[in-house]
């Protein structure tokens, strides 16, 4: 059993309510932070913890906090990014649904450290019932003196507001989220200025992911140094992984980032192996935008070393032979899955979610979807693969926000690692929909079901 810092109490009956959460030691970290610690020392502990943003980019959270501008007389805001929309990712939903007070406690400590009197949770519109759970928890926390005016007699005022979006993946990008929170279309802003200088209503703003803010609670409780001892290298603490696809036990798991990918997939404590006795073909380990890896490169790096579930190991080999930790959306594909079709659904997703501001993304995502559709329907031509490659190259790095990259990477990785499957579709047009390229040489070399 690995260390559990976030989900340790997730199964305690009634933990969603204030009374049970408090009885189980909840709000002790908030009490410690507000009563015993200075603002500087809270930020210092978060820096020492090595906590990296859990939304996907992995940027050090303490450093992000230290960038916030503090002009005289201008309010500052903390915004919690709960717009979880990266395909394969459903960890924040789990955390908010089952441990709403953990998030609120993390938000309170973080708001205090950043000087945010009005903190916003931007939650994706579809999570309507989760928004209600948060609203209820905020009412409870307010009644018990953890939110509102003069909290714990410190003179600090803080209110948390839940803001429901209305369906747009792009609002997970922090500047698009801010635009949306201002009541506009979710068009990302050009940076600089960064939100830490001019964010929500042009005021200094920090945007952090749900899991990142929840992790502040154990960091304050145990101290940054102790937190940093868990995990390995620059992958400190624990990470929530939402595992899905063709596995026996889909769900949300907390790992301490020392477990191997192989153990994570095959052990009964986590994914429980590939479903229906099938073989592992490929995996997208960190949400749909990170590169897909065939089984052999997933379990071992190109150097033949064991690959582990952490930031460094998952990206070992760069994009040539590695992938990314990303958001922790772990998608497993078995031997029956078609890489072309899977890539097509992702290309369609990014075309649908492109905000349309930048031509390379607006046009390119549509072209990629059309070409992939053509190949999948058995109308592909041999020049299509190179054309796809060319388009994704021209999107990547040429857009205001990272959605362009996120759309380009899955296509690039699918071609890089599964080119012969694309070729098979083109050379066997009649078969491309009725049968499957299948596993061929992409089988997991270690685990062969009887």
């Amino acid at each position: 059993m690995g260390v559990k810092l976030l989900l340790e109490k997730a199964n305690v009956p009634g933990i969603r309510t204030y009374d049970v959460y408090r009885r189980e030691g909840g709000y002790a970290a908030a009490e410690k932070a507000l009563k015993e610690m200075s603002i500087e020392s809270i930020v210092e502990e978060v820096k020492k913890s090595g906590l990296r943003g859990r939304g996907g980019a992995g940027f050090p959270a303490g450093m992000k906090w230290s960038f916030i501008a503090k002009p005289e007389g201008v309010p500052r805001h903390l915004v919690c990014n709960a717009d979880e929309s990266e395909p394969g990712t459903f960890k924040d939903r789990y955390l908010m649904e089952f441990l709403p007070h953990l998030l609120i406690e993390g938000l309170l400590i973080s708001s205090y450290a950043l000087g945010s009197n009005d903190t916003y949770i931007y939650i994706r519109g579809e999570y309507a019932w989760v928004a209600q759970i948060l609203e209820d928890a905020i009412i409870e926390a307010t009644k018990n003196g953890w939110l509102g005016k003069n909290i714990l007699g410190t003179g600090f005022d803080c209110m948390i507001h839940v803001h429901r979006g209305a369906g747009a993946y792009i609002c997970g990008e922090e500047t698009a989220l801010i635009e949306s929170l201002e009541g506009k279309r979710g068009n990302p802003r050009i940076k600089p200025p960064f939100p830490a200088i001019q964010g929500l209503w042009m005021r200094p703003t920090v945007v952090n992911n749900v899991e990142t803010l929840a992790a502040v609670v154990p960091i304050i409780k145990m101290g940054g140094e102790e937190y940093a001892k868990i995990g390995v290298g620059r992958s400190t603490g624990t990470k929530l992984i939402s595992a899905c696809g063709n596995i026996n036990k889909p769900g949300v798991y907390e790992i301490d980032m020392t477990i191997s990918v192989e153990d994570f997939i095959y052990s009964d404590e986590y994914c429980g192996g590939i479903a229906n006795g099938k073989k592992l073909k490929a995996c997208i380990p960190g949400g749909s935008s990170v590169p897909i890896l065939p089984a052999n490169l997933l379990l071992k790096t190109a150097k033949g070393e064991t690959r582990y579930m952490n930031y460094e190991s998952l990206s070992d080999g760069g994009f040539a032979t590695g992938s990314m930790m990303g958001s922790g959306g772990f998608i497993i594909l078995d031997e029956d899955q078609c890489i072309v079709k899977n890539t097509l659904t992702l290309a369609r997703f990014y075309r649908h979610e492109s905000c349309g501001q930048c031509s390379p993304c607006r046009e390119g995502t549509g072209w990629m979807e059309k070409i992939l559709q053509k190949i999948e329907l058995g109308k592909g031509e041999s020049s299509d693969i190179d054309l796809l490659w060319d388009i994704q190259r021209k999107i990547e790095g040429n857009t205001i926000c990272p959605l362009g990259d996120a759309a380009a990477w899955p296509v690039a990785a699918a071609i890089r690692h599964f080119r012969d499957e694309f070729e098979w579709h083109i050379n066997n047009r009649a078969l491309s929909q009725t049968s499957n390229f299948g596993l061929q040489h992409y089988a997991d070399p270690i685990h062969v079901p009887a």
């Binding site: 309507a128 979710g186 899905c244 899977n342």
Partner: protein
Amino acid sequence: MSLQFNNEQMTEFKRLVAHYPVGKQKSALLPALNLAQDSFGGWLPTEAMDYVASLLKIEPIEVYEVATFYSMYNLKPVGKFVFEVCQTGPCMISGSDNIIAYIQKQLAIQPGETTKDGIFTLKLVECLGACGYAPMMQVGKIYREHLTKDKVDAIIEEYRMQVAAQN
């Protein structure tokens, strides 16, 4: 103007606006449109958008550009129950194609259409954050997960009964 929030809806509208600083009431636009859509039959006619604009003291165009951007706003009338079935990668590899085809057959409609009796609309949507519980669909404010053909039949029956009970 004939479309208006009733007292209860107006109280909720005021609660939503109160989350934002004075003068920044435009921030309440998305939550206000969510409320308007729920209040006015599940979609946003131009009249509803103009009404929200007047309440927030912004130009109607500011509402239209937002309403056309976000996928949850319906700009055409929909059935009483909208089946929004996820079709993105993780759901697809878990069999969403079969579920979509089955719903089409059972309701005898194509994606984007509403049944003649006005009860059901089928919409295909992108990832709803339920990948571990696939295949799935959203109906109103709730998620229906781990869908099978039997479960789809039961859900359709459940909503038909609800409508029959109301008539």
